[in-house]
Protein backbone atom coordinates (compact mmCIF):
# COMPACT_ATOMS: atom_id res chain seq x y z
CA UNK A 1 0.00 0.00 0.00
CA UNK A 2 2.83 2.35 0.91
CA UNK A 3 4.49 1.43 -2.34
CA UNK A 4 1.32 2.13 -4.26
CA UNK A 5 1.00 5.61 -2.77
CA UNK A 6 4.62 6.30 -3.63
CA UNK A 7 4.03 5.20 -7.21
CA UNK A 8 0.96 7.38 -7.42
CA UNK A 9 3.10 10.43 -6.58
CA UNK A 10 5.68 9.44 -9.21
CA UNK A 11 2.93 8.82 -11.73
CA UNK A 12 1.38 12.17 -10.99
CA UNK A 13 4.66 13.97 -11.74
CA UNK A 14 5.21 12.07 -14.98
CA UNK A 15 1.56 12.43 -15.92
CA UNK A 16 1.72 16.21 -15.45
CA UNK A 17 4.42 16.40 -18.11
CA UNK A 18 2.35 14.29 -20.52
CA UNK A 19 -0.74 16.34 -19.74
CA UNK A 20 1.04 19.60 -20.58
CA UNK A 21 2.07 18.27 -23.99
CA UNK A 22 -1.33 16.65 -24.58
CA UNK A 23 -3.03 20.02 -24.06
CA UNK A 24 -1.30 21.40 -27.13
CA UNK A 25 -2.35 18.43 -29.24
CA UNK A 26 -5.92 18.66 -28.11
CA UNK A 27 -6.23 22.44 -28.54
CA UNK A 28 -4.83 22.44 -32.05
CA UNK A 29 -6.93 19.41 -32.94
CA UNK A 30 -10.05 20.97 -31.48
CA UNK A 31 -9.70 24.01 -33.70
CA UNK A 32 -8.35 22.72 -37.00
CA UNK A 33 -8.55 18.88 -36.73
CA UNK A 34 -4.83 18.60 -37.36
CA UNK A 35 -2.47 16.23 -35.60
CA UNK A 36 0.66 18.29 -35.28
CA UNK A 37 3.45 15.73 -35.38
CA UNK A 38 6.08 18.41 -34.91
CA UNK A 39 4.80 18.84 -31.39
CA UNK A 40 7.27 16.47 -29.76
CA UNK A 41 10.07 18.46 -31.37
CA UNK A 42 8.74 21.71 -29.92
CA UNK A 43 8.91 20.01 -26.53
CA UNK A 44 12.48 18.94 -27.29
CA UNK A 45 13.46 22.48 -28.33
CA UNK A 46 11.97 23.79 -25.10
CA UNK A 47 14.09 21.33 -23.13
CA UNK A 48 17.26 22.33 -25.01
CA UNK A 49 16.57 26.05 -24.54
CA UNK A 50 16.20 25.46 -20.82
CA UNK A 51 19.42 23.46 -20.86
CA UNK A 52 21.37 26.15 -22.73
CA UNK A 53 20.05 28.92 -20.50
CA UNK A 54 20.85 26.99 -17.35
CA UNK A 55 24.20 25.55 -18.39
CA UNK A 56 25.73 28.36 -20.47
CA UNK A 57 24.12 31.44 -18.99
CA UNK A 58 23.73 30.05 -15.47
CA UNK A 59 20.23 31.40 -15.11
CA UNK A 60 17.85 30.29 -12.40
CA UNK A 61 14.98 27.89 -12.88
CA UNK A 62 12.32 30.53 -13.52
CA UNK A 63 14.26 32.15 -16.36
CA UNK A 64 15.06 28.73 -17.87
CA UNK A 65 11.40 27.79 -17.75
CA UNK A 66 10.19 31.07 -19.22
CA UNK A 67 12.96 31.01 -21.84
CA UNK A 68 11.97 27.51 -22.91
CA UNK A 69 8.35 28.59 -23.13
CA UNK A 70 9.18 31.70 -25.14
CA UNK A 71 11.32 29.92 -27.71
CA UNK A 72 8.72 27.18 -28.09
CA UNK A 73 6.03 29.80 -28.55
CA UNK A 74 7.98 31.49 -31.35
CA UNK A 75 8.73 28.12 -32.90
CA UNK A 76 5.07 27.10 -32.75
CA UNK A 77 3.91 30.28 -34.48
CA UNK A 78 6.65 29.91 -37.07
CA UNK A 79 5.59 26.32 -37.82
CA UNK A 80 2.01 27.43 -38.19
CA UNK A 81 3.01 30.18 -40.61
CA UNK A 82 5.43 28.14 -42.73
CA UNK A 83 4.12 24.59 -42.73
CA UNK A 84 0.47 24.77 -41.90
CA UNK A 85 -1.06 28.04 -43.11
CA UNK A 86 -0.37 27.47 -46.83
CA UNK A 87 -2.08 24.08 -46.46
CA UNK A 88 -5.21 25.17 -44.70
CA UNK A 89 -7.43 24.61 -47.73
CA UNK A 90 -5.89 21.30 -48.81
CA UNK A 91 -6.55 17.85 -47.40
CA UNK A 92 -5.81 17.12 -43.77
CA UNK A 93 -3.43 14.36 -44.73
CA UNK A 94 -1.12 16.70 -46.65
CA UNK A 95 -1.04 19.02 -43.64
CA UNK A 96 -0.18 16.01 -41.50
CA UNK A 97 2.71 15.05 -43.79
CA UNK A 98 3.90 18.64 -43.71
CA UNK A 99 4.11 18.57 -39.90
CA UNK A 100 6.01 15.28 -40.17
CA UNK A 101 8.44 17.11 -42.46
CA UNK A 102 8.85 19.81 -39.81
CA UNK A 103 9.41 17.13 -37.18
CA UNK A 104 12.20 15.48 -39.19
CA UNK A 105 13.72 18.89 -39.96
CA UNK A 106 13.75 20.05 -36.35
CA UNK A 107 15.17 16.88 -34.82
CA UNK A 108 17.92 16.77 -37.47
CA UNK A 109 18.64 20.46 -36.89
CA UNK A 110 19.12 19.79 -33.18
CA UNK A 111 21.44 16.86 -33.91
CA UNK A 112 23.52 19.19 -36.08
CA UNK A 113 23.54 21.91 -33.43
CA UNK A 114 24.14 19.92 -30.26
CA UNK A 115 25.11 16.41 -31.36
CA UNK A 116 23.06 13.24 -31.00
CA UNK A 117 24.16 12.33 -27.47
CA UNK A 118 22.13 12.57 -24.29
CA UNK A 119 23.12 15.56 -22.18
CA UNK A 120 22.66 16.01 -18.46
CA UNK A 121 20.72 18.93 -17.07
CA UNK A 122 22.61 21.21 -14.64
CA UNK A 123 21.31 21.22 -11.10
CA UNK A 124 19.14 24.30 -10.89
CA UNK A 125 18.28 23.83 -7.24
CA UNK A 126 19.02 21.32 -4.52
CA UNK A 127 16.77 18.26 -4.64
CA UNK A 128 15.29 17.58 -1.21
CA UNK A 129 13.11 14.71 -0.12
CA UNK A 130 10.14 15.36 2.10
CA UNK A 131 8.43 12.58 3.99
CA UNK A 132 4.71 13.04 4.31
CA UNK A 133 3.21 10.26 6.35
CA UNK A 134 4.14 7.01 4.67
CA UNK A 135 5.49 8.26 1.40
CA UNK A 136 8.12 10.62 0.11
CA UNK A 137 7.93 13.44 -2.32
CA UNK A 138 10.93 15.17 -3.84
CA UNK A 139 11.08 18.90 -4.41
CA UNK A 140 11.42 18.22 -8.15
CA UNK A 141 8.09 16.45 -8.12
CA UNK A 142 6.47 19.28 -6.17
CA UNK A 143 7.81 21.82 -8.68
CA UNK A 144 6.62 19.79 -11.66
CA UNK A 145 3.16 19.11 -10.31
CA UNK A 146 2.88 22.71 -9.08
CA UNK A 147 3.97 24.33 -12.34
CA UNK A 148 1.78 21.99 -14.39
CA UNK A 149 -1.24 22.62 -12.18
CA UNK A 150 -0.66 26.37 -12.34
CA UNK A 151 -0.36 26.39 -16.14
CA UNK A 152 -3.45 24.22 -16.56
CA UNK A 153 -5.46 26.44 -14.26
CA UNK A 154 -4.27 29.52 -16.11
CA UNK A 155 -5.21 27.91 -19.42
CA UNK A 156 -8.62 26.96 -18.11
CA UNK A 157 -9.30 30.50 -16.89
CA UNK A 158 -8.00 31.94 -20.16
CA UNK A 159 -10.19 29.75 -22.33
CA UNK A 160 -13.27 30.20 -20.14
CA UNK A 161 -13.23 33.88 -19.26
CA UNK A 162 -11.27 35.95 -21.77
CA UNK A 163 -12.47 37.30 -25.07
CA UNK A 164 -9.80 35.42 -27.00
CA UNK A 165 -10.68 32.25 -25.14
CA UNK A 166 -14.30 32.61 -26.12
CA UNK A 167 -13.27 33.21 -29.73
CA UNK A 168 -11.17 30.03 -29.57
CA UNK A 169 -14.11 28.00 -28.38
CA UNK A 170 -16.32 29.50 -31.07
CA UNK A 171 -13.75 28.68 -33.75
CA UNK A 172 -13.55 25.11 -32.49
CA UNK A 173 -17.31 24.75 -32.73
CA UNK A 174 -17.77 26.19 -36.18
CA UNK A 175 -14.97 27.94 -37.97
CA UNK A 176 -17.06 29.54 -40.70
CA UNK A 177 -19.77 30.77 -38.36
CA UNK A 178 -17.16 32.20 -36.00
CA UNK A 179 -15.54 33.99 -38.95
CA UNK A 180 -18.89 35.51 -39.91
CA UNK A 181 -19.33 36.77 -36.35
CA UNK A 182 -16.14 38.77 -36.70
CA UNK A 183 -13.62 36.41 -35.13
CA UNK A 184 -10.21 36.75 -36.76
CA UNK A 185 -9.72 33.05 -37.55
CA UNK A 186 -6.07 33.40 -38.64
CA UNK A 187 -5.13 35.07 -35.40
CA UNK A 188 -7.04 32.55 -33.30
CA UNK A 189 -5.29 29.62 -34.98
CA UNK A 190 -1.89 31.29 -34.48
CA UNK A 191 -2.76 31.97 -30.82
CA UNK A 192 -3.74 28.35 -30.32
CA UNK A 193 -0.44 27.17 -31.78
CA UNK A 194 1.40 29.69 -29.59
CA UNK A 195 -0.31 28.64 -26.36
CA UNK A 196 -0.01 24.93 -27.04
CA UNK A 197 3.65 25.27 -28.00
CA UNK A 198 4.57 27.27 -24.92
CA UNK A 199 2.96 24.58 -22.75
CA UNK A 200 5.03 21.95 -24.58
CA UNK A 201 8.15 24.08 -24.01
CA UNK A 202 7.41 24.25 -20.29
CA UNK A 203 6.91 20.47 -20.27
CA UNK A 204 10.29 20.10 -22.00
CA UNK A 205 12.17 22.10 -19.37
CA UNK A 206 10.37 20.29 -16.54
CA UNK A 207 11.16 16.90 -18.11
CA UNK A 208 14.80 17.94 -18.51
CA UNK A 209 15.00 18.78 -14.79
CA UNK A 210 13.12 15.66 -13.72
CA UNK A 211 14.93 13.03 -15.81
CA UNK A 212 18.23 14.92 -15.95
CA UNK A 213 18.51 13.94 -19.60
CA UNK A 214 17.97 15.88 -22.81
CA UNK A 215 18.53 14.55 -26.33
CA UNK A 216 17.37 15.43 -29.86
CA UNK A 217 15.06 12.43 -30.26
CA UNK A 218 13.36 12.72 -26.88
CA UNK A 219 10.35 14.34 -28.51
CA UNK A 220 9.18 11.42 -30.63
CA UNK A 221 8.15 9.01 -27.87
CA UNK A 222 6.94 11.74 -25.52
CA UNK A 223 4.92 13.23 -28.37
CA UNK A 224 3.32 9.90 -29.26
CA UNK A 225 2.40 9.20 -25.65
CA UNK A 226 1.01 12.68 -25.16
CA UNK A 227 -1.00 12.26 -28.33
CA UNK A 228 -2.26 8.94 -26.98
CA UNK A 229 -3.16 10.78 -23.77
CA UNK A 230 -5.09 13.42 -25.70
CA UNK A 231 -7.05 10.75 -27.58
CA UNK A 232 -7.62 8.77 -24.39
CA UNK A 233 -9.19 11.80 -22.73
CA UNK A 234 -11.18 12.63 -25.83
CA UNK A 235 -9.37 14.71 -28.39
CA UNK A 236 -10.56 18.29 -28.56
CA UNK A 237 -11.43 18.36 -24.87
CA UNK A 238 -9.08 20.34 -22.58
CA UNK A 239 -10.05 18.62 -19.29
CA UNK A 240 -9.86 15.33 -21.20
CA UNK A 241 -6.23 15.99 -22.15
CA UNK A 242 -5.31 16.68 -18.51
CA UNK A 243 -7.06 13.53 -17.36
CA UNK A 244 -5.58 11.45 -20.20
CA UNK A 245 -2.06 12.71 -19.48
CA UNK A 246 -2.31 11.86 -15.79
CA UNK A 247 -3.74 8.42 -16.61
CA UNK A 248 -0.94 7.59 -19.05
CA UNK A 249 1.67 8.74 -16.52
CA UNK A 250 0.12 6.68 -13.73
CA UNK A 251 -0.22 3.61 -15.95
CA UNK A 252 3.40 3.82 -16.98
CA UNK A 253 4.59 3.99 -13.39
CA UNK A 254 2.21 1.25 -12.24
CA UNK A 255 3.46 -1.09 -14.98
CA UNK A 256 6.91 -0.73 -13.39
CA UNK A 257 5.45 -1.57 -9.98
CA UNK A 258 3.98 -4.83 -11.20
CA UNK A 259 7.34 -5.81 -12.73
CA UNK A 260 6.37 -5.29 -16.33
CA UNK A 261 8.70 -2.37 -16.94
CA UNK A 262 9.84 -3.82 -20.29
CA UNK A 263 6.27 -3.52 -21.43
CA UNK A 264 5.64 -0.01 -20.10
CA UNK A 265 5.40 1.56 -23.56
CA UNK A 266 2.97 -1.14 -24.64
CA UNK A 267 0.83 -0.61 -21.54
CA UNK A 268 -0.14 2.95 -22.33
CA UNK A 269 -1.12 2.11 -25.90
CA UNK A 270 -2.88 -1.12 -24.91
CA UNK A 271 -5.14 0.70 -22.47
CA UNK A 272 -5.70 3.39 -25.08
CA UNK A 273 -6.92 0.82 -27.62
CA UNK A 274 -9.16 -0.82 -25.03
CA UNK A 275 -10.72 2.50 -24.04
CA UNK A 276 -11.27 3.43 -27.67
CA UNK A 277 -13.02 0.11 -28.32
CA UNK A 278 -15.44 0.69 -25.46
CA UNK A 279 -15.88 4.41 -25.99
CA UNK A 280 -14.56 5.38 -29.42
CA UNK A 281 -14.63 9.12 -28.75
CA UNK A 282 -12.40 8.93 -25.68
CA UNK A 283 -13.30 9.41 -22.03
CA UNK A 284 -14.51 13.01 -22.20
CA UNK A 285 -14.93 13.39 -25.93
CA UNK A 286 -18.25 14.17 -27.48
CA UNK A 287 -19.80 11.83 -29.94
CA UNK A 288 -20.64 13.53 -33.18
CA UNK A 289 -23.35 12.01 -35.31
CA UNK A 290 -22.41 12.08 -38.94
CA UNK A 291 -24.86 12.70 -41.71
CA UNK A 292 -24.53 12.40 -45.43
Amino acid sequence: MKDLMQQLINGLALGSIYALIALGYTMVYGIISLINFAYGEIYMFGAFTGLILAATYKTNVVVALLGGMMLSLVLGVLIERVAYKPLRRSSRLSALISTIGVSIFLSTLMVLLKGPNTQGFPKLFENKVYAIGNFQITIYQIVIIGVAAFLMLALHLFVTYTRTGRAMRATAQDQDAAGLMGVNIDRIIATTFAIGSSLAGAAGVLAGIYFNAVQPYMGTMAGLKAFAAAVLGGIGSIPGAMLGGLMIGLLEVLSVTVNLSEYKDAFAFGILILVLLVKPSGIMGQKINKKV
Binding site: A83, G101, L224, A266, I273, P280, K290
Partner: protein, 322 residues
Protein backbone atom coordinates in the same frame (compact mmCIF):
# COMPACT_ATOMS: atom_id res chain seq x y z
CA UNK B 1 -10.71 -6.56 -79.62
CA UNK B 2 -12.85 -5.98 -76.57
CA UNK B 3 -13.78 -9.68 -76.31
CA UNK B 4 -10.20 -10.84 -76.42
CA UNK B 5 -9.18 -8.33 -73.77
CA UNK B 6 -11.90 -9.48 -71.41
CA UNK B 7 -11.23 -13.18 -71.80
CA UNK B 8 -9.82 -14.42 -68.49
CA UNK B 9 -7.54 -16.98 -70.16
CA UNK B 10 -5.92 -14.26 -72.26
CA UNK B 11 -5.50 -12.17 -69.13
CA UNK B 12 -3.87 -15.00 -67.19
CA UNK B 13 -1.52 -15.87 -70.06
CA UNK B 14 -0.63 -12.20 -70.46
CA UNK B 15 0.01 -11.91 -66.73
CA UNK B 16 2.31 -14.95 -66.74
CA UNK B 17 4.15 -13.71 -69.83
CA UNK B 18 4.75 -10.32 -68.21
CA UNK B 19 6.08 -12.03 -65.08
CA UNK B 20 8.42 -14.25 -67.11
CA UNK B 21 9.69 -11.24 -69.04
CA UNK B 22 10.20 -9.29 -65.82
CA UNK B 23 12.13 -12.20 -64.36
CA UNK B 24 14.39 -12.51 -67.41
CA UNK B 25 15.01 -8.76 -67.60
CA UNK B 26 15.79 -8.59 -63.90
CA UNK B 27 18.13 -11.58 -64.25
CA UNK B 28 19.94 -9.78 -67.06
CA UNK B 29 20.08 -6.50 -65.15
CA UNK B 30 21.42 -8.15 -62.00
CA UNK B 31 24.39 -9.41 -64.08
CA UNK B 32 25.34 -6.02 -65.49
CA UNK B 33 24.33 -3.56 -62.77
CA UNK B 34 26.89 -2.48 -60.13
CA UNK B 35 26.04 -3.91 -56.68
CA UNK B 36 25.27 -0.49 -55.19
CA UNK B 37 22.57 0.27 -57.75
CA UNK B 38 21.27 -3.27 -57.50
CA UNK B 39 20.90 -2.83 -53.76
CA UNK B 40 18.85 0.34 -54.32
CA UNK B 41 16.78 -1.68 -56.82
CA UNK B 42 16.08 -4.24 -54.09
CA UNK B 43 14.80 -1.58 -51.74
CA UNK B 44 12.74 0.13 -54.44
CA UNK B 45 10.98 -3.20 -55.05
CA UNK B 46 10.35 -3.82 -51.35
CA UNK B 47 9.11 -0.27 -50.79
CA UNK B 48 6.79 -0.40 -53.80
CA UNK B 49 5.20 -3.57 -52.39
CA UNK B 50 4.88 -2.00 -48.94
CA UNK B 51 3.52 1.30 -50.24
CA UNK B 52 0.99 -0.41 -52.52
CA UNK B 53 -0.37 -2.26 -49.51
CA UNK B 54 -0.71 0.98 -47.58
CA UNK B 55 -2.19 2.70 -50.61
CA UNK B 56 -5.00 0.16 -50.65
CA UNK B 57 -5.75 0.82 -46.97
CA UNK B 58 -5.19 4.59 -46.77
CA UNK B 59 -5.56 5.63 -50.39
CA UNK B 60 -8.32 3.49 -51.85
CA UNK B 61 -10.35 2.77 -48.72
CA UNK B 62 -9.46 5.97 -46.87
CA UNK B 63 -8.48 4.35 -43.56
CA UNK B 64 -5.46 6.19 -42.19
CA UNK B 65 -3.12 3.54 -40.77
CA UNK B 66 0.02 4.58 -38.90
CA UNK B 67 1.05 1.03 -38.09
CA UNK B 68 2.09 -0.33 -41.45
CA UNK B 69 5.60 -1.15 -40.25
CA UNK B 70 4.14 -3.45 -37.58
CA UNK B 71 2.76 -5.74 -40.28
CA UNK B 72 6.12 -5.53 -42.02
CA UNK B 73 7.86 -6.64 -38.83
CA UNK B 74 5.40 -9.52 -38.36
CA UNK B 75 6.10 -10.69 -41.91
CA UNK B 76 9.85 -10.26 -41.45
CA UNK B 77 10.02 -12.20 -38.19
CA UNK B 78 7.58 -14.90 -39.31
CA UNK B 79 9.56 -15.56 -42.50
CA UNK B 80 12.86 -15.46 -40.64
CA UNK B 81 11.59 -18.02 -38.13
CA UNK B 82 10.31 -20.14 -41.04
CA UNK B 83 13.59 -20.22 -42.96
CA UNK B 84 16.10 -20.17 -40.08
CA UNK B 85 14.42 -21.98 -37.20
CA UNK B 86 12.15 -24.33 -39.15
CA UNK B 87 14.42 -24.73 -42.22
CA UNK B 88 11.56 -24.18 -44.66
CA UNK B 89 12.27 -23.07 -48.25
CA UNK B 90 12.29 -19.34 -48.99
CA UNK B 91 9.04 -19.17 -51.05
CA UNK B 92 7.19 -20.84 -48.17
CA UNK B 93 8.81 -18.29 -45.86
CA UNK B 94 7.55 -15.38 -47.97
CA UNK B 95 4.07 -16.87 -48.07
CA UNK B 96 4.06 -17.51 -44.31
CA UNK B 97 5.26 -13.95 -43.68
CA UNK B 98 2.45 -12.56 -45.79
CA UNK B 99 -0.16 -14.83 -44.20
CA UNK B 100 0.98 -14.07 -40.64
CA UNK B 101 0.74 -10.33 -41.29
CA UNK B 102 -2.61 -10.84 -43.01
CA UNK B 103 -3.93 -12.79 -40.02
CA UNK B 104 -2.89 -10.05 -37.63
CA UNK B 105 -4.39 -7.48 -39.98
CA UNK B 106 -7.75 -9.22 -39.72
CA UNK B 107 -7.52 -9.77 -35.96
CA UNK B 108 -6.56 -6.12 -35.37
CA UNK B 109 -8.79 -4.75 -38.08
CA UNK B 110 -11.95 -6.37 -36.81
CA UNK B 111 -12.28 -4.32 -33.62
CA UNK B 112 -10.35 -1.19 -34.61
CA UNK B 113 -11.98 -0.51 -37.96
CA UNK B 114 -15.12 0.52 -36.12
CA UNK B 115 -13.10 3.61 -35.24
CA UNK B 116 -12.83 6.33 -37.78
CA UNK B 117 -10.26 8.85 -38.91
CA UNK B 118 -7.74 9.92 -36.32
CA UNK B 119 -8.95 7.44 -33.74
CA UNK B 120 -8.11 4.64 -36.13
CA UNK B 121 -4.76 6.31 -36.79
CA UNK B 122 -3.83 6.37 -33.11
CA UNK B 123 -5.14 2.82 -32.56
CA UNK B 124 -2.95 1.45 -35.37
CA UNK B 125 -0.04 3.51 -34.07
CA UNK B 126 -0.59 2.03 -30.62
CA UNK B 127 -0.80 -1.45 -32.06
CA UNK B 128 2.51 -0.93 -33.86
CA UNK B 129 4.19 0.19 -30.64
CA UNK B 130 2.80 -2.84 -28.80
CA UNK B 131 4.08 -5.19 -31.51
CA UNK B 132 7.51 -3.56 -31.34
CA UNK B 133 7.68 -3.90 -27.55
CA UNK B 134 6.56 -7.56 -27.73
CA UNK B 135 9.22 -8.39 -30.34
CA UNK B 136 11.81 -6.67 -28.14
CA UNK B 137 10.91 -8.95 -25.24
CA UNK B 138 10.41 -12.24 -27.05
CA UNK B 139 12.94 -15.08 -26.90
CA UNK B 140 12.41 -16.59 -30.34
CA UNK B 141 12.97 -13.26 -32.13
CA UNK B 142 16.27 -12.56 -30.42
CA UNK B 143 14.78 -9.69 -28.40
CA UNK B 144 16.40 -6.28 -28.56
CA UNK B 145 19.63 -7.72 -29.96
CA UNK B 146 17.86 -8.72 -33.15
CA UNK B 147 17.38 -11.80 -35.27
CA UNK B 148 20.77 -13.04 -36.43
CA UNK B 149 21.74 -15.55 -39.07
CA UNK B 150 19.10 -14.97 -41.72
CA UNK B 151 20.39 -16.18 -45.07
CA UNK B 152 20.61 -13.78 -47.99
CA UNK B 153 18.03 -15.53 -50.14
CA UNK B 154 16.42 -12.61 -51.94
CA UNK B 155 17.45 -12.19 -55.56
CA UNK B 156 16.68 -9.31 -57.89
CA UNK B 157 14.38 -11.38 -60.17
CA UNK B 158 12.37 -12.59 -57.15
CA UNK B 159 11.81 -9.03 -55.95
CA UNK B 160 10.96 -7.71 -59.38
CA UNK B 161 8.53 -10.54 -60.18
CA UNK B 162 6.75 -10.05 -56.87
CA UNK B 163 6.65 -6.27 -57.36
CA UNK B 164 5.19 -6.54 -60.85
CA UNK B 165 2.71 -9.20 -59.69
CA UNK B 166 1.63 -6.94 -56.83
CA UNK B 167 1.19 -3.98 -59.17
CA UNK B 168 -0.90 -6.12 -61.55
CA UNK B 169 -3.09 -7.45 -58.73
CA UNK B 170 -3.60 -3.92 -57.39
CA UNK B 171 -4.56 -2.61 -60.83
CA UNK B 172 -6.96 -5.48 -61.33
CA UNK B 173 -8.41 -4.91 -57.85
CA UNK B 174 -8.85 -1.19 -58.47
CA UNK B 175 -11.32 -1.87 -61.26
CA UNK B 176 -13.04 -4.85 -59.72
CA UNK B 177 -16.31 -4.79 -57.84
CA UNK B 178 -14.41 -4.92 -54.55
CA UNK B 179 -12.14 -2.05 -55.52
CA UNK B 180 -15.05 0.15 -56.41
CA UNK B 181 -16.75 -0.70 -53.13
CA UNK B 182 -13.57 0.36 -51.32
CA UNK B 183 -13.54 3.66 -53.18
CA UNK B 184 -17.17 4.15 -52.17
CA UNK B 185 -16.21 3.60 -48.52
CA UNK B 186 -13.49 6.26 -48.86
CA UNK B 187 -15.75 8.80 -50.51
CA UNK B 188 -18.62 8.56 -48.07
CA UNK B 189 -19.16 5.75 -45.60
CA UNK B 190 -22.75 6.53 -44.83
CA UNK B 191 -23.75 6.95 -48.45
CA UNK B 192 -21.95 3.70 -49.34
CA UNK B 193 -23.69 1.85 -46.55
CA UNK B 194 -27.08 3.15 -47.57
CA UNK B 195 -26.71 1.71 -51.07
CA UNK B 196 -25.86 -1.70 -49.68
CA UNK B 197 -22.06 -1.71 -49.42
CA UNK B 198 -21.00 -3.66 -46.34
CA UNK B 199 -18.41 -1.12 -45.17
CA UNK B 200 -16.86 -3.22 -42.39
CA UNK B 201 -16.35 -6.16 -44.75
CA UNK B 202 -14.58 -4.04 -47.36
CA UNK B 203 -12.48 -2.24 -44.77
CA UNK B 204 -11.30 -5.56 -43.37
CA UNK B 205 -10.66 -6.84 -46.86
CA UNK B 206 -8.48 -3.82 -47.62
CA UNK B 207 -6.71 -4.22 -44.29
CA UNK B 208 -6.09 -7.93 -44.88
CA UNK B 209 -4.71 -7.47 -48.41
CA UNK B 210 -2.66 -4.43 -47.36
CA UNK B 211 -1.16 -6.31 -44.41
CA UNK B 212 -0.41 -9.27 -46.65
CA UNK B 213 1.61 -6.97 -48.92
CA UNK B 214 3.40 -5.58 -45.87
CA UNK B 215 4.17 -9.12 -44.68
CA UNK B 216 5.62 -10.07 -48.07
CA UNK B 217 7.64 -6.84 -48.07
CA UNK B 218 8.88 -7.65 -44.58
CA UNK B 219 9.90 -11.17 -45.61
CA UNK B 220 11.88 -9.79 -48.56
CA UNK B 221 13.42 -7.13 -46.33
CA UNK B 222 14.54 -9.69 -43.75
CA UNK B 223 16.20 -11.87 -46.39
CA UNK B 224 17.87 -8.87 -48.04
CA UNK B 225 19.43 -7.24 -44.99
CA UNK B 226 19.96 -10.68 -43.29
CA UNK B 227 19.55 -9.01 -39.91
CA UNK B 228 16.44 -7.52 -38.35
CA UNK B 229 15.79 -5.87 -35.01
CA UNK B 230 12.64 -4.34 -33.53
CA UNK B 231 13.93 -0.76 -33.97
CA UNK B 232 13.99 -1.30 -37.76
CA UNK B 233 10.20 -1.18 -37.68
CA UNK B 234 9.52 1.89 -35.57
CA UNK B 235 7.01 4.65 -35.98
CA UNK B 236 9.19 6.54 -38.45
CA UNK B 237 9.18 3.53 -40.76
CA UNK B 238 5.38 3.59 -40.96
CA UNK B 239 5.58 7.30 -41.64
CA UNK B 240 8.06 6.66 -44.44
CA UNK B 241 5.54 4.47 -46.26
CA UNK B 242 2.77 6.98 -45.66
CA UNK B 243 5.02 9.65 -47.18
CA UNK B 244 5.52 7.50 -50.28
CA UNK B 245 1.79 7.06 -50.75
CA UNK B 246 0.88 10.69 -50.13
CA UNK B 247 3.82 12.12 -52.09
CA UNK B 248 2.85 10.14 -55.17
CA UNK B 249 -0.84 10.86 -54.88
CA UNK B 250 -3.15 9.17 -52.42
CA UNK B 251 -5.13 6.39 -54.07
CA UNK B 252 -3.17 6.44 -57.32
CA UNK B 253 -1.21 3.26 -58.15
CA UNK B 254 1.25 4.90 -60.60
CA UNK B 255 1.59 7.72 -58.06
CA UNK B 256 2.42 5.29 -55.26
CA UNK B 257 5.06 3.61 -57.42
CA UNK B 258 6.65 6.95 -58.33
CA UNK B 259 6.47 8.11 -54.71
CA UNK B 260 8.25 4.95 -53.55
CA UNK B 261 10.95 5.29 -56.20
CA UNK B 262 11.52 8.98 -55.43
CA UNK B 263 11.64 8.57 -51.67
CA UNK B 264 13.82 5.45 -51.82
CA UNK B 265 16.37 7.09 -54.10
CA UNK B 266 16.18 10.62 -52.60
CA UNK B 267 18.35 9.80 -49.54
CA UNK B 268 20.90 8.24 -51.92
CA UNK B 269 20.94 11.33 -54.15
CA UNK B 270 21.24 13.50 -51.07
CA UNK B 271 24.13 11.44 -49.74
CA UNK B 272 26.68 14.08 -50.76
CA UNK B 273 25.15 16.40 -48.17
CA UNK B 274 26.14 13.96 -45.41
CA UNK B 275 24.68 15.26 -42.14
CA UNK B 276 22.35 17.74 -43.80
CA UNK B 277 20.57 14.93 -45.63
CA UNK B 278 17.59 14.50 -43.32
CA UNK B 279 17.33 18.27 -42.95
CA UNK B 280 16.75 18.55 -46.69
CA UNK B 281 14.47 15.52 -46.65
CA UNK B 282 12.23 17.20 -44.07
CA UNK B 283 12.23 20.45 -46.02
CA UNK B 284 11.38 18.59 -49.24
CA UNK B 285 8.34 17.04 -47.58
CA UNK B 286 7.06 20.45 -46.49
CA UNK B 287 7.72 22.10 -49.87
CA UNK B 288 6.14 19.18 -51.74
CA UNK B 289 3.00 19.37 -49.66
CA UNK B 290 2.70 23.13 -50.09
CA UNK B 291 3.09 23.07 -53.86
CA UNK B 292 1.52 19.69 -54.68
CA UNK B 293 -0.83 19.00 -51.76
CA UNK B 294 -2.46 16.11 -53.61
CA UNK B 295 0.85 14.48 -54.41
CA UNK B 296 2.86 14.33 -57.57
CA UNK B 297 0.14 12.50 -59.50
CA UNK B 298 -2.87 13.17 -57.29
CA UNK B 299 -6.03 13.66 -59.34
CA UNK B 300 -4.22 12.54 -62.47
CA UNK B 301 -5.91 9.62 -64.20
CA UNK B 302 -3.46 7.64 -66.33
CA UNK B 303 -5.98 5.67 -68.32
CA UNK B 304 -8.02 8.76 -69.05
CA UNK B 305 -4.94 10.73 -70.07
CA UNK B 306 -3.76 7.99 -72.41
CA UNK B 307 -7.15 7.47 -73.99
CA UNK B 308 -7.57 11.22 -74.35
CA UNK B 309 -4.20 11.43 -76.09
CA UNK B 310 -5.21 8.60 -78.43
CA UNK B 311 -8.55 10.16 -79.05
CA UNK B 312 -6.95 13.48 -79.83
CA UNK B 313 -4.71 11.79 -82.40
CA UNK B 314 -7.69 10.22 -84.13
CA UNK B 315 -9.62 13.47 -84.17
CA UNK B 316 -6.66 15.35 -85.60
CA UNK B 317 -6.36 12.74 -88.32
CA UNK B 318 -10.04 13.21 -89.04
CA UNK B 319 -9.32 16.87 -89.56
CA UNK B 320 -10.57 18.36 -86.32
CA UNK B 321 -9.11 21.61 -85.14
CA UNK B 322 -7.47 21.41 -81.74
Amino acid sequence: MRNIKNNWLVQVIGFVLVLIMTGLTAQGLSRIMPPYYLQIGFFIGINVIMALGLNLIAGATGQLSLGHSAFMSIGAYASAIATVTLHLPFPVGILLGGLAACLFGIVIGFPTLRLSGDYLAIATLGFAEIVRVIFTNMQITGGAIGFLGIKNLTTFPVIMILTVAMIAVMMWLENSRNGRAMLAVREDEIAAESVGVNITWYKIQAFAIGSFCAGVGGALFAHTTTFIQPTDFGFMKSIEFLNMVVLGGLGSIPGTIIGSVVLTTAPEFLRFMANYRMLVYGLLLIIMMIFRPHGLLGGFNFRQAISRALFLGRRIRQGAKV
